[in-house]
């Protein structure tokens, strides 16, 4: 009987990036892995991000263990024996309740490297979708997914976990939004085309910035970044330029975010003063310098109507936000406990239903066999009375075990042990083994 939920995983808590990267699965690889798992498990979910790879399985056979699942992942990634040995000790292995609660904590964002990371929700949602597409998602996983999404929604709406920025590039955009909350009527300039610049640009585009200028020493890289950004929902107008062209476009911009590897100052205080004189608007100019060494002349901070913030200023915002997020964890754990209990009730019904049916079927089968065997010994009237009487006896005998299975329990393990006790007492699994 499929009664367990097993989970194995590797995350930033247990393993450094050089180990984690060996177990990163692409969408295609996840689909293949789930298909291969279908011979041994009823339902499965494989989550793979840059910070974690986790496999949740509802096994078909009781013999399927967490070690088997770890080996399965190694096999799928075709890792060498040395790699396997190194990685094995970093895995977490979870059963039943622990696996459920763990996924709830992951989707809530409290298990993330940056507490409150919102990306993980989308990644888990995509994983459930993929599992559904390849046919690895049954009743249990569907209900599991719904419960997990409910946790994420409640965390979003009932707590302050997602308030404020958790990363420097997000803090840069959040700071800009503290000046201009409606970016759909604002223009922004991104200087640089590296990873940090790209993340900041994505945040700006997602928040609907009206016109995004991208400047880079190598113009081709600016064009590549714009091509990447064009696919982001909310993208509008883009203009690319080289660093020398910045002064021409600066008067058009309300926000400037700079993140290059340049050794020298790119934007001087004189450039900024000139741009301010040429601006049509009297609203403030927001300059955010995330680069080390800095790209924008620090003297610009003294210019009236200019906000200049560097990486240290933004770190102060991030640190405060992360502290505030940590303070929300007890509230989130309470939400998880509530949702876990609700899910348990559903899960119990899923588990208990088949056991009660099998129990009743087995008793009925024995009754029918005995009646058939002794039918000739009784008249029709007597047989009818015996038939009725034996049915009642069975109903009365099964009343207590049925009630015991259905009644609410304090823990999932308690429920599981009762199911297993009933199945062992009445040898319900023997029939399955015989048929196999």
């Amino acid at each position: 009987m499929p009664s367990k939920l097993l989970a194995v995983g590797l995350s930033h808590h247990q393993a450094p990036v050089e180990l984690r990267e060996k177990l990163v699965f692409s969408g295609k690889e996840i689909a293949h892995a789930l298909e291969h798992l279908r011979s041994t498990s009823d339902e499965a979910l494989l989550i793979s991000t840059c910070n974690r790879t986790e496999l949740y399985v509802r096994p078909e056979h009781a013999e399927l263990t967490t070690d088997y699942l770890i080996d399965f992942l190694f096999e799928e990634k075709k890792l060498s024996s040395d790699e396997r040995n190194t990685l094995r000790e970093h895995f977490i292995k979870l059963n039943y309740c622990d696996a459920i609660i763990h996924l709830f904590e992951v989707i809530a964002g409290i298990d993330s490297q940056i507490i409150g990371d919102q990306q993980i929700f989308t990644q888990i949602k995509d994983s459930f979708k993929l599992s559904e597409e390849v046919g690895s998602n049954g009743t249990f996983m569907t209900k599991f997914a719904h419960a997990a999404f409910r946790v994420a929604k409640r965390v979003r709406t009932e707590t302050q976990l997602l308030v404020g920025a958790g990363t420097i590039s997000y803090a840069a955009v959040e700071f800009a939004r503290k000046v201009y909350d409606d970016l759909s009527v604002r223009s922004a300039l991104i200087i640089g085309a590296g990873e940090t610049a790209e993340i900041a640009a994505k945040h700006l585009v997602e928040r609907g910035v009206e016109h995004l200028y991208v400047a880079n020493r190598t113009h081709e890289n600016a064009v590549t970044l714009v091509n990447t950004l064009s696919s982001v929902p909310g993208s509008k107008r883009f203009t690319t330029m080289t660093l020398s062209e910045i002064p021409n476009y600066l008067p058009e911009c309300d926000i400037v975010i700079s993140s290059t590897a340049n050794e020298n100052i790119i934007l001087s205080a004189a450039d900024i003063r000139t741009a301010l004189k040429m601006r049509r608007s009297a609203s403030p100019l927001v300059l955010i310098d995330i680069a080390v060494p800095r790209d924008i002349d620090p003297k610009a901070a003294d210019i009236p109507n200019v906000f200049l913030k560097d990486i240290d200023d933004l770190s102060a915002i991030v640190d405060q936000n992360l502290e505030a997020r940590k303070a929300e964890i007890p509230k989130i754990k309470e939400i998880i406990t509530n949702e876990f209990n609700d899910f348990l009730a559903v899960f119990t019904k899923l588990e208990v239903g088949p056991t009660i049916k099998e129990l009743r079927d087995k008793f009925e089968q024995i009754r029918q066999e005995e009646l058939t065997r002794n039918k000739t010994k009784f008249s029709d009237a007597e047989f009818s009375a015996i038939d009725d009487m034996t049915r009642k006896i069975i109903n009365r005998l099964l009343h207590n075990p049925t009630v015991m299975l259905k009644e609410p329990r304090s823990t999932k393990d308690d429920m599981q042990s009762r199911i297993e006790l009933i199945r062992a007492l009445f040898a319900l699994d023997e029939k399955e083994k015989e048929s196999e």
């Binding site: 707590t159 302050q160 308030v163 404020g164 700071f175 939004r177 503290k178 000046v179 201009y180 909350d181 409606d182 049509r280 608007s281 009297a282 609203s283 403030p284 109507n305 906000f307 913030k309 200023d313 102060a316 915002i317 405060q320 505030a324 303070a327 929300e328 509230k331």
Partner: protein, 281 residues
């Protein structure tokens, strides 16, 4: 009616106090729930409306025969203007709300403590005039909305300063963006400008109604009328410059604060040396 007036008069400071407590909780303890803010805001406005109506029916005039009565009207109009300017059910900004409710709480508490129930009757004919009532109510609404614009302006300057100095505490988190504060300020000054326009027109009509022998020039040359027209011109001019000359950011805030300072100084001087009513009355 008397019982209803007295009971609502007693309840109102507590309602403003509860509202202030809730806004304060959200402002200082960001984990506090915002859910009850908007319903309590509406309840306070509803109870205050009942109080004004009950008082008017019992006294035969609205809350404008002395300063203490006026204070209640100011608290009410400020809360109404705030609700109209920041109509956000789920995300009321605790920073601005706390400032408005604090002012409302002080005004209403003083008013509830000192408003007497011995009604005056010598100006009863004036209180029954619809034009007079429109004139008074709109001037209170007008000045309250302009006060609100000044509150938004003050918050703008405080946030601007906090952001320049890297002070990212509760104030940074709980006050709306500079952009929004400016927008709300513009909205408030538009409301204030609209009500002041009506009040000035109603005042002119009232002069013709009650003192037909005196010319319109007496109304226009009256010190209170002149000051009101000057304040009206400052806020109106600000709105025109904002619309057509891109008057934005700190500059527009300075205009609002100048207009508000002008109104406070002129009203204090006029009330010190001139009677409660206009010179020509």
């Amino acid at each position: 009616m008397e019982i209803l007036t007295r009971s609502t008069q007693t309840i109102l400071p507590f309602l403003y106090g509860a509202l202030l407590f809730l806004f304060g909780s959200v402002f200082f303890r960001q984990s506090a729930s915002r859910k009850p803010l908007y319903p309590l805001l509406l309840v306070t406005i509803a109870v205050h409306t009942v109080y004004i109506c009950a008082f008017t029916l019992a006294a035969g005039h609205c809350l404008y025969t002395n300063f203490y009565e006026f204070f209640s009207l100011i608290a009410f109009t400020m809360l109404c203007s705030y609700t109209a300017v920041e109509p956000r059910r789920k995300g009321l900004a605790a920073g601005t709300g706390m400032m408005v409710v604090l002012a409302g709480f002080i005004f209403q508490t003083i008013s509830s403590l000192y408003t007497s129930h011995e009604h005056i009757s010598d100006s009863q004919h004036l209180f029954e005039s619809a034009t007079f009532n429109v004139h008074i109510i709109t001037i209170v609404f007008g000045f309250s909305a302009l006060t609100l614009a000044t509150i938004y302006g003050s918050l703008y300057l405080l946030l601007y300063r906090a952001m320049r100095l890297n002070e990212f505490g509760s104030f940074f988190h709980e006050v709306p963006s500079l952009d929004k504060l400016e927008r709300y300020g513009v909205r408030s000054s538009m409301i204030g400008f609209f009500f002041l326009t009506i009040s000035i027109i109603a005042g002119a009509a009232l002069t013709g109604e009650i003192t037909p022998v005196k010319s319109m020039s007496a109304y226009l040359l009256d010190s209170k009328t002149l000051t009101t027209i000057l304040i009206w011109a400052v806020f109106g001019g600000t709105l025109i410059l904002h619309k057509y000359r891109k008057l934005e950011g700190k500059k527009i805030v300075i205009f609002w604060m100048s207009g508000f300072a002008l109104s406070i100084i002129s009203m204090t001087v006029i009330n010190r040396f001139v009677s409660n009513f206009h010179n020509f009355f």
